[in-house]
């Protein structure tokens, strides 16, 4: 259950629309079911009342939409930002990807979002309703008469299980209480893979990446991937391809994708969330984050606007590429 209610958010949005502070609202729109929520632009209070939702399935991060929406929208845009969204927000500002003046950011607390796949694993298929308003999720299916009660903790999305921060690093206004940066165990899985033998690692990734269908969802959802023209879609880049023809291209795509966001990735976890093939893409990004933290000192992309990302920075006594492996052997 989220601590902030839908009504509070609608009230806030409506008042900002009414007093002219903003001209539109980026928010979550209800879907066919209770979990398939779509990001949408709302322009009136009536629209908000009719279609705006806020529940445990509002995972979508709006930051990236600001890049295009701020160029199109006349007035200011109201955007609701969960703590993890604020990091992406700042990172985009660091890269001058949108005009801060055109955004009114309202920070909202987040208790973690639910993963519908986990819900289905418990409640089964044929979900007809999910009620997130109580202590537990009440999931009704067409096959059972009584709703299945699920503890929200048991169906938290992977990225929320390993939530790195409940603190908002950017906002104009905050609803509810701000939290703290959390000492999460998010690198444990990376460490587990690092501890494998090279053969095991190779087999692990070969198996994961072989499922890639190159739908580009990971790239297109990524708030760090905002290139005007992506190298993978640019025929002159020598990387362009519409589908992975073999395992080399699968690896190539994912190495380059992760490398391009290395030092810029805020670890929001959207890539893994949207992957239709459930490839744990965040484990590639986190590998870079973990390496950066251990080689060059802790760095959280988006923690502050204007910070110098590790790959556009250096110190004269950085470790040598060869030393990377010596450390690993210890």
């Amino acid at each position: 259950m989220q601590k902030i209610t839908r009504d509070q958010l609608i009230e806030k949005a409506a008042s900002l629309l009414a007093n002219g502070t903003v001209s539109c609202v980026l928010g979550w729109q209800k879907g066919e079911f209770d979990y398939d929520i779509t990001p949408a632009v709302f322009e009136t209070e009536d629209e908000l009342k009719a279609n705006f939702v806020w529940n445990d399935f509002c995972g979508a991060n709006f930051s990236k939409y600001l890049v295009s929406k701020t160029k199109k929208c006349e007035g200011k845009i109201l955007v609701f930002l969960k703590p993890c969204d604020t990091y992406s927000f700042n990172q985009l500002l660091t890269e001058h990807r949108f005009d801060r003046e055109k955004v009114y950011a309202v920070g909202i607390p987040c208790e973690g979002m639910a993963d519908i796949a986990k819900v289905k694993a418990i409640a089964g298929d044929g979900i007809s309703a999910i009620d997130c308003s109580g202590e537990k999720l009440a999931v009704t299916t067409i096959y059972e008469d009584a709703p299945v009660m699920i503890d929200a903790k048991d169906v938290l999305a992977e990225r929320c299980v390993n939530c790195k921060s409940k603190k908002h690093v950017a906002y104009d206004e905050l609803i509810g209480e701000d939290g703290d940066v959390i000492d999460s165990a998010r690198f444990d899985e990376v460490a587990k893979i690092e501890a494998m033998t090279p053969d095991e690692r190779f087999a692990f990734w070969q198996n994961e990446l072989s499922r890639c269908i190159r739908c580009n969802a990971c790239r297109d959802i990524c708030p760090a991937c905002t290139c005007e023209k992506c190298v993978f879609g640019n025929p002159n880049s020598s990387l362009e391809n519409k589908s992975p023809a073999n395992s080399f291209e699968e690896k190539m795509f994912h190495i380059i994708r992760a490398f391009h966001v290395a030092g810029r990735c805020t670890d929001c976890g959207e890539c893994s969330r949207v992957c239709p093939q459930h490839i744990p893409l965040h484990l590639l990004n986190r590998k870079f984050i973990k390496d950066i933290d251990s080689f060059y000192g802790e760095y959280q992309a988006g923690a502050e606007v204007g910070s110098r990302a590790p790959l556009v920075n250096y110190t004269t006594d950085d470790l040598e590429p060869g030393e990377v492996f010596e450390r690993g052997d210890n």
């Binding site: 160029k71 199109k72 660091t94 890269e95 001058h96 990807r97 905002t226 290139c227 005007e228 023209k229 992506c230 190298v231 640019n234 002159n236 880049s237 020598s238 391009h260 966001v261 810029r264 110098r308 990302a309 790959l311 556009v312 920075n313």
Partner: protein, 664 residues
């Protein structure tokens, strides 16, 4: 499609000895784009070059591959040949089949196979080469020197001597800098003023040199050859062109209790003042913090006594915009603050002084008219303790001083000790040192004379504590060689304070996009080979702003910087390296990543209107590379996430073509 000619050189037997040159030229003849392929004994000879020229004409070649020695050897030669043959010199690629093939492989088959592959890579690259034309930019034939100390003065004089106009910007009311405050100079002991003031006068009288004193640089735009600089001239409330420097105003000024910064606060001056007798420009300046007229409108004495009518209480700060072709940074140094070293009681006793203050105490124009008297009671000191390395060579984590050696302290301390003993033989002089560093012409001899002829007590060890007690300073120190702790009742303690770059250097470096090290010294373009140039083209370094230096070193570096400036200003146009980065504006995100890694500040941003896919227009921020500033390292091309940035002459597609050809 290119029409490529391949020319395989035998280099006598240097190549032909281990590479079957005929096989190489035959093999390469079948490569895509190749229309002509041949080999010859010495491709770089006149005959060889003519062969290329003839082939260009006969086969209408658009590109040339020469398989020969290292491009570091003859790339320039063959580019000239191409130009002479009427094709763009950048359509030439060299396959290095001598240094990297025939000379390192013994076997004919191996060498030939590799030579063919290297040749194929060169052909693959040329297929993608495009004609490149170096950009040209005009040069504004005027130099700016920031800082009017000995470094700036020398640089300005040398540049002016070559016939180019120079402006000096000095933030104090007079030029002269630290050297003007010194008494004698080591190791020859000539008087600083005697050798400096003639140079100051030269500057004042040189019609090529303008002095902006009491001024600061507030903005720098542009690039090498074309800097636009804004200079802020602080209001001195005296019309510079009218003031005769007679000094009547300074005598009559009723406000006489202003600490005299020239004498480091050891005496006072008036609110309207001329820093010292030989000041250049010799004009008065009103200190607005002390002048009663400026503060509360009551007084006006100076205006009344000024026969020339130079006083103008309504003067405002003035901003001057000027164009320059080159900028020399000569911002100099300052002794560090002694506040953190309370063990030496600098803030507790007037008789603990820094070496620069000691200079003023022994200077004939100083507060004591050259008599060595202690500041507290103006008595002659009989025991003087000099402490070396105060704040120099400190550990970074100690956070008190500087990590580096300040370089000049050993010598000036020896000078001070020697002069004291010379003038006042009744004085006991102790110098506490860690090491005595005297690398310089006649430096060690000088130090030995202080010990051997003048009887200065050099003690290996440090002073741990200075405690003022009555009219004495109790100095507690260790004598490491005797393994004793010494207690000396001193009359005067002189601290050899570390020196640091002037505080104005950091903001200036930002304006100039010139890089600095962690100590705020300017970084040179190459520590050994380009010591007076900043990595930012058109910015040069003179004097202690680059690192601690004594006067001879400063002057020689000043001259070196001047010669670099003259070399630049002597050109009418700057021809750039055409192999520079360029950004595809359609793909650029404007994310500033490239700007952050560019060591030259060659990348700026502009907002440009674009037609969007949905037929609307939008303003987008895009990177623009200044080809005159870019040096072509290519760092930005890899940093650029979208691949908008590419490097001419070493484009992504070209390098990939080489990779492909090699791996084929």
């Amino acid at each position: 499609m290119q029409r490529i000619g391949v020319f395989v050189c035998w280099c006598g037997s240097n190549i032909a000895g281990t590479v079957d040159v005929q096989a190489v030229s035959d093999a390469l003849a079948h490569e895509p784009g190749v229309v002509f392929s041949t080999n010859y004994q010495y491709m770089c000879s006149q005959a060889g070059q003519n062969m290329i020229k003839d082939a260009v004409a006969e086969h209408k070649l658009t590109g040339i591959v020469v398989c020969s020695c290292s491009p570091r050897m003859h790339e320039a030669t063959f580019r000239k040949t191409a130009a002479a043959a009427g094709i763009n010199p950048y359509m030439v690629e060299i396959a290095n089949i001598r240094e990297q093939c025939s000379w390192v492989h013994k076997d004919m088959q191996t060498g030939t196979e590799k030579a063919i592959i290297l040749g194929k890579a060169a052909v693959a690259k040329v297929n993608l080469n495009t004609p490149l034309t170096p950009g040209e930019s005009p040069v504004t034939k005027r130099a700016l020197v920031i800082g009017g100390g000995i470094a700036g003065i020398q640089t300005a004089l040398d540049i002016a001597d070559a016939g180019f106009p120079v402006d000096i910007v000095e933030k104090k009311p007079t030029i002269g800098g630290k050297m003007a405050q010194l008494d004698k100079t080591f190791p020859t002991l000539d008087c600083a003023a005697c050798i400096l003031t003639p140079k100051m006068v030269d500057v004042a009288q040189n019609d090529k040199i303008r002095i902006f004193s009491y001024s600061e640089v507030t903005d720098v735009k542009g690039f090498v050859g074309n800097f636009d600089v804004t200079i802020k001239k602080h209001a001195r409330y005296v019309k510079e062109d009218i003031c005769t420097g007679c000094g009547a105003c300074t005598e009559k000024c009723p406000m006489k209790k202003v600490p005299n910064e020239f004498n480091l606060g050891m005496d006072n001056r008036s609110a309207i003042y001329i820093p010292f007798a030989q000041a250049v420009p010799k004009v008065a300046t009103i200190d607005p913090n002390y002048c009663n007229m400026l503060k509360n409108g009551k007084c006006g004495v100076c205006s009344k006594v000024c026969a020339a009518g130079a006083i103008d209480y309504t003067q405002k700060d003035e901003f001057i915009e000027e164009k320059y072709g080159a900028i020399v940074v000569a911002t100099g140094f300052n002794p560090i603050s002694m506040d953190k070293f309370d063990e030496f009681a600098y803030n507790q006793s007037k008789d603990v002084i820094t070496s620069l203050e000691f200079e003023r105490l022994t200077n004939a124009a100083g507060p004591t008219a050259g008599k060595l008297l202690r500041p507290s009671d103006l008595k002659h000191p009989h025991t003087i303790v000099f402490v070396q390395c105060v704040g120099s060579r400190c550990d970074a984590c100690a956070e008190k001083g500087k990590e580096y050696c300040s370089k000049i302290c050993c010598m000036y301390t020896a000078k001070h000790a020697m002069l004291t003993r010379d003038k006042y033989p009744d004085t006991e002089v102790y110098v506490f040192y860690i090491d005595v560093r005297t690398p310089g012409k006649n430096f060690d001899e000088f130090y030995r004379r202080a010990v051997e002829e003048y009887g200065v007590h050099y003690i290996k060890g440090m002073v741990g504590k200075v405690t003022p007690e009555g009219d004495k300073l109790k100095v507690q120190a260790s004598d490491l060689l005797a393994n004793k702790q010494l207690h000396i009742d001193a009359d005067l303690v002189v601290l050899a304070a570390a020196i640091e770059p002037d505080k104005s250097a950091r903001p200036l470096a930002t304006m100039l996009t010139a890089s600095m090290d962690t100590n705020d010294f300017f970084t040179e373009a190459h520590p050994k080979l380009r010591p007076v140039e900043s990595p930012t083209a058109g910015v040069f370094l003179s004097g202690a702003c680059q690192g601690p230096k004594d006067i001879p070193e400063t002057v020689s570096q000043a001259g070196a910087a001047a010669s670099k400036v003259i070399g630049l200003l002597a050109k009418d146009k700057l021809t750039g390296n055409p192999c520079v980065a360029s950004s595809n504006e359609l793909m650029c995100n404007g994310c500033s990543t490239c700007e952050r890694v560019c060591p030259y500040g060659a990348i700026t941003y502009e907002n440009k209107e674009f037609r969007m896919p949905d037929r609307t227009t939008a303003i987008r921020r895009i990177a623009v590379v200044n080809p005159a500033v870019c040096q072509g390292c290519g760092c930005c091309t890899v940093a650029c996430p979208s691949g908008a940035m590419d490097l001419r002459g070493f484009a992504n597609s070209q390098i990939i073509a080489e990779v492909d050809a090699i791996c084929k």
